[in-house]
Symmetry: C2
Subunit: 240 residues, 2 copies
Amino acid sequence: MNTHTVKAYGDELNQLTAEVARMGGLAEAQVADAVESVGRRDVALARAVVERDVRLDAMHREIEKKAIRLIALRQPVATDLRKTLSAMKLAVDLERTGDLAKNIAKRALILAESDPMQPLTRSIERMGWLVSTRLRDVLDAYTASELDRAVAVWTSDDEVDEHYNAMFRELLTYMMGDPRTITACTHLLFMAKNLERIGDHATNIAETIHYEITGDEMIGERPRWAPGPDADKPLSAPAA
Amino acid sequence: MNTHTVKAYGDELNQLTAEVARMGGLAEAQVADAVESVGRRDVALARAVVERDVRLDAMHREIEKKAIRLIALRQPVATDLRKTLSAMKLAVDLERTGDLAKNIAKRALILAESDPMQPLTRSIERMGWLVSTRLRDVLDAYTASELDRAVAVWTSDDEVDEHYNAMFRELLTYMMGDPRTITACTHLLFMAKNLERIGDHATNIAETIHYEITGDEMIGERPRWAPGPDADKPLSAPAA
């Protein structure tokens, strides 16, 4: 293998990592904008999020294609193979994160047509802020290759789950108290669920970074797609 | 490369495919049992589904590990590389399918403690049957390497979406008509959403089979995690 080949190979790998980082930046912005569009009842912003999602889909396909080509032509091993496989995995999580942000924006468009539900949209905003922070932290960990930071995100998911469960109860109480709010509350419920799932994707990303850096799986089991207490024990239903 | 190495390599690849097929069988059973446990209010069956899910998680990790080892040590190209990468992708979709089945079973456990809601659980069963059929068909396509069959599953997702949207409206009507059913209906709503997402995973699996066999991406765009009409246009809310 001559120097030229080695250089081109390293370039390709660096380019792949950079593309994942860029995709991460866009996904992060999509989540933040989607949440913002809910709170501000900003129809134009929500529409922009929906329209911008195709870019994440395109980036996902591009990263996957490049990674497969790299594996087939360069046959990377050890760290390089882990970097390449991680890029593929991260692109999947970021694409799904984008889909979830798009779904939130679509629901924001619907909510903008009904009466404002201030205290509830405030809860969505707080939860959205929490999830956005997780996503930003884990993407910082990726670009800086900082293991500790990735592990910190991995171990801190409970906060999001707690927020989701509190929101779930809040929404049920609202619906029972005023059945006219049921349709709007159902959309808010799915928004909260979407944010919880974005939090799960941040956890997945942390696991992938851990694998990329150490070559080991994350120790211990973290439930993914956990239903939260709402599916673990019956809720004490507030009076309607 | 001597004959022994070649043979061992082929064996490894066949074993990987067989493990994915086996994981598919288990995931299929988990979905069917979870749906069955809702209709029959079968607490023992729902518990069995919840407990069995760890096996799918273990299989996912095992398949991923073997695929990575195969890429690193055997450096497969062309069809073999596609087979290996597909195995990794399919294991992810099957693991998530299992998580969703587990979530349905957990909610079945909660519903078993409240009053039966016959017409609604019937709708879940019908939707579950539809989704199970999709999953079975696409796994048949995988084990038989039948491209047409995979494409057929890929093009037939609308039925599940339609069913989900009908259920969404049915559940809202129910909640508004009798706010005491809100908690139960919310669990049924998430069950329906979970089934819709299992349908999406069947679609992903069809795409992966298409890639494995042809080396090309599926033509055209299929929305994943699509919110359905419920998030695309405002619902005409039935009177409470």
